[in-house]
Assembly symmetry: C2
Amino acid sequence: MPKETYLSEKVAEQLMQYIINNNLKAGDKLPNEFTLAEKLGVGRSTLREGIRSLVSRNVLQTRRGAGTFVAKENVGVIDDPLGFAFIEDKQRLARDLMEIRLMIEPRIAAIAAKNATKEEIDKITHLAKETENIILAGGNHIDKDIEFHSQIAIASKNLVAPTILPIIQNSISIFIDVTASKLRRETIDTHRLIVEAIQRGDEIAASDAVYLHLIYNRQLILEKVSENL
Amino acid sequence: MPKETYLSEKVAEQLMQYIINNNLKAGDKLPNEFTLAEKLGVGRSTLREGIRSLVSRNVLQTRRGAGTFVAKENVGVIDDPLGFAFIEDKQRLARDLMEIRLMIEPRIAAIAAKNATKEEIDKITHLAKETENIILAGGNHIDKDIEFHSQIAIASKNLVAPTILPIIQNSISIFIDVTASKLRRETIDTHRLIVEAIQRGDEIAASDAVYLHLIYNRQLILEKVSENL
């Protein structure tokens, strides 16, 4: 039996094309419903369904009374875009996500050490300091920690790493608490090593520091996984 | 201004929870609308909107006259889940995606050489042969090629690689034609090397063969990118 496709999905496709062809960027406003419906040659209620479909894919956002906008960040990337919610064994998943982090991040950090601008180095340094302060104050540093690693990915200039890596790190943090007190000292120390290496533009040291950092994290994850076997 | 959330999005969340809590798998059928609406305590038109939202996220599929089902494959993973359509410089994107493939796939192939079952090795061998036949017949082998690499990712037993790697490989193939005739011989030869290494359970040879394979691909991509600079 063929799967059903809704008219709204076709309109969603048209809207995607409209956004891309008109080079609309994150946060840009779309024309009003009347104009859009006319441009796409569809009724307003069908248009609304198409818009809703793109809202659920984080391509668009609607704001009451203000109109329809391209999403502000991560355009087209939904929460959990890789469907991890549907993988049953979350601990094995966390372990395997960490395996992928270990394959990508040391190399990305090396490229960042080579490519980072002065401004990016300042941001990375600042985020490491903020993460450290939260850790020392006994708070939950995971969001700031993800920001720190994301900024390194951005500094690498690779177009894909800043999307993929935060998804992976965030997913691991959902399934396993990696902010345990025993890791706090190692996190501070290895973050500092990473920052210093990037400041010096030292590719090998940056890569090694990220390896160290991730291996401490992985040891904790493997302990937690084996506790539950 | 706060972004608007639709009631349908909340129902979509409830439906997600229902699928996960009831351990429904790809292809499983959901209860009929009447029962579902009652279970979730919502009206049927709101339920339908929630279902549509999950259809657009590839969590559900509806088939006319047959009902609502969990999607058959890649549950929760939409086409272009990482929003590559919204990245303007497609050639730089292809280059950077290849950079990420080079970080992940040699290692995944090594793990596959260690972990592959007899049945998985047969599948990999068969897919390589099929890809080769398409190439020799002058056809477009890209889909079969992606299947071949996906099967290696599956054989690694890493839970994430079989989702991430086909997305990356498929995206590269959309932006740059890597089936050029000059690559056909190298593809056949390096695929054979990969298969033989996995058959022997030789981790280092598997990793090296994938490096070779990807480096030939990358050379072609870099040529195409520089042609267009």
